[in-house]
């Protein structure tokens, strides 16, 4: 998991959000608006003004194309400064800033978006593990709601990454602009539950990953993946997740 690009993206969301909120504080656009609970209270106490000021020494006026006076606002995540109309106030200003930030961070909510866009099936519900008194006296098995949530989120993220690759000719490295979903919408007809099986066309027993690689090399015309590569692992995760509830039946033709 760690080798995938996910952790950095998530980091980017937090930093970016803080950046916008801090920028709002500097401008005084949102009166009384402190950072929402849970957002690094220490950072909100005093240094933010300094941090933002360092990124953009002084809100500088610059004439825009429409000759409307604008203000440049620096972001504390080191990103490019944002330009807004000087007349914007209050919620309109906040919306404009958030809008611009979202546009420059199109992948901020990528896991949620991927789940929604491609109807990813949720992982198993493990909340039953929180019941039962025996767990309390035992280190292994003494789970909290946080544990359950963490497992689900991490697993979903892994599957979502697979879905993203599955649906992208670029991420698959296709030389002919072909992605997996063009023949397998929602991973249909991938039947991971039937492997291992004797693959007649190959003349040997194949695993799901052998077939993934076969597809990548042939219809997709990309480069074969190492069995333990993050891309292969993510693809397997997505394909398996989509067959949730289907009985395993290895060897089935």
């Amino acid at each position: 998991m760690r080798t995938m690009r996910i952790p950095r993206r998530i980091g980017g969301v937090v930093v970016g959000t803080i950046g916008v909120l801090l920028a709002l504080l500097v401008l005084g656009g949102v009166p009384k608006a402190g950072p929402p609970a849970g957002l690094a209270p220490a950072a909100a106490e005093s240094p933010p003004v300094v941090a933002v000021a360092a990124a953009a020494p002084a809100p500088a006026r610059s004439p825009s194309k429409n000759d409307q006076p604008t203000v440049q606002i620096g972001a504390c995540d080191g990103g490019a400064p944002v330009e807004v109309s000087k007349d914007l106030k209050g919620k309109a200003l906040a919306d404009s800033l958030m809008d611009q930030w979202k546009r420059s961070h199109p992948e901020a909510n990528w896991v949620t978006e991927e789940k929604e866009k491609h109807a990813l099936k949720p992982p198993a519900d493990n909340s039953g593990l929180l019941k039962g008194a025996q767990g309390k006296s035992h280190t292994y098995g003494n789970y909290t709601e946080r544990d359950i949530l963490l497992w689900a989120r991490e697993t979903e993220k892994f599957v979502a990454e697979g879905s993203r690759i599955f649906h992208s000719a670029d991420l698959l490295g296709s030389e002919v602009a072909v992605s997996c979903d063009m023949c397998h919408p929602h991973a249909a007809n991938t039947h991971p539950e039937t492997y291992p099986k004797y693959q007649v066309q190959l003349g040997r027993v194949a695993l799901l990953r052998d077939m993934i690689n076969w597809c990548i090399e042939n219809p997709v015309r990309g480069e074969k993946l190492a069995a333990d590569s993050p891309t292969m692992r993510a693809l397997e995760a997505y394909i398996l997740s989509q067959r949730k509830g289907v009985p395993m039946e290895y060897g089935k033709h």
Partner: protein, 372 residues
């Protein structure tokens, strides 16, 4: 014009006629063919010839001779040639197939999704290839042709997407059934992002397809002058019924469109989009799918109509398996035999008698490799 035919030409003509006849072979005529074949090997008949046997048709109802026939090609999903040549070769193959039909069909119907991402160069390439057809072309738009520039280039090349015409006593209607309500403005999508969203069959950010109120009104007006026993064939890219919403095997206002067609004795609807052998009947309306030249879709996990005899799972190791083109034989009563000319497989015909008998007669061969 020279009428001389070479030995090869005659041989190929006979062969073609023979195989066309085999499509509708029943058991008794099979025995006749076998006997003739035996005769041929024993030297009783001219060894090169396929002609001694005229294949008899099956059940009584099936003996009606078609009034005319037209060919179809659909769902080529072309990229530019240097991006992906496989899909280009698919369309070229289909054009060859149709050009080799003898006699030529009255016209060729193209079922939509000529381009993959609606780009001018993709559509122009498609138009160029389709110009090689010997028979006249009638064409329908698909969502892949439309959502980059909202149909501008396609209409420039092929004209309005909604129209009707009459041919040998049959009224043909071509609909643009892939309208979607705006999902792109709220998400601030670029034109290409909108196109790619629609191009993803399993992309849930798009909206369901529909014909829309304006076209429904147009349809009602277009059909108003026709008597109830008129012979009508409607083309729509999406199936004009509700099969499986997550893949847009679906038309959201299907019931309203069906209501307009309800007063007629019978109506045939032929659709693209599903890339597979697909058969349905709702009351007086008989629905047939078209094969794609690009790739076959799997059957939807639910909702496949009872009348559908699925095609066997395609062989992934054969890139053109499950693809193809086909013919539609229109009978004097307005019902059709729908021929699925699958590449690499025996053609499958879904006859009008199969449809008229609600699947009791002339049942097409069942698949030996069903969907998982």
């Amino acid at each position: 014009m020279a009428t001389h035919k070479s030995v090869e030409t005659k041989y190929l003509e006979e062969r073609r006629q023979f195989f066309r006849g085999l499509r509708n072979l029943d058991r008794r005529s099979f025995l006749k063919v076998s006997a003739a074949a035996l005769g041929a090997t024993a030297g009783w008949a001219t060894p090169h010839s396929f002609t001694p046997v005229t294949v008899a048709q099956g059940a009584e109802g099936a003996t009606s001779q078609p009034a005319f026939r037209f060919a179809y090609i659909s769902d080529s999903h072309l990229y530019e040639r240097d991006v992906n040549d496989r899909f280009v070769r698919g369309l070229l193959r289909a054009v060859d197939d149709v050009n080799n039909l003898d006699p030529q069909p009255d016209f060729v119907f193209y079922g939509g999704d000529l381009a993959q991402l609606g780009q001018a160069k993709e559509l122009e390439l498609g138009a160029q290839i389709l110009k090689n057809l010997k028979a006249p072309l009638k064409i329908m738009v698909g969502e892949h042709d439309w959502y980059l520039d909202m149909g501008q280039k396609w209409q420039e090349l092929f004209g309005p997407p909604t129209y009707s015409f009459d041919h040998k006593g049959v009224h043909f209607v071509v609909l643009m059934s892939v309208l979607e309500r705006d999902f792109w403005t709220a998400r601030r999508m670029t034109a290409m992002e909108r196109m790619q969203t629609v191009a993803g069959l399993d992309n849930g950010w798009q909206n369901p397809f529909m014909v829309g109120p304006r076209q429904r009104q147009w349809l009602a007006d277009d059909l108003a002058k026709l008597p109830d026993d008129a012979r009508i064939i409607v083309f729509s890219h999406s199936p004009l019924y509700k099969l499986y919403k997550p893949w847009n095997f679906w038309t959201d206002d299907a019931e309203e469109v069906q209501a307009i067609l309800k007063r007629f004795k019978q109506v045939v609807v032929i659709h693209g989009h599903t890339h597979q052998l697909l058969t349905n009947r709702i009351g007086n309306i008989h629905f047939h799918g078209m094969l794609a030249t690009a790739w076959p879709w799997p059957y939807a996990p639910e909702g496949t109509p009872e009348l559908t005899i699925q095609m066997s799972r395609p062989d992934p190791f054969n890139p053109s398996d499950g693809c193809g083109d086909g013919e539609v034989h229109v009978h004097p009563d307005g019902l059709v035999d729908k021929v699925y000319s699958l590449w690499n497989r025996n053609p499958i015909t879904v006859t009008r008698t199969y449809m008229a008998s609600w699947g009791k007669q002339d049942v097409p061969p069942k698949p030996n490799r069903p969907a998982y």
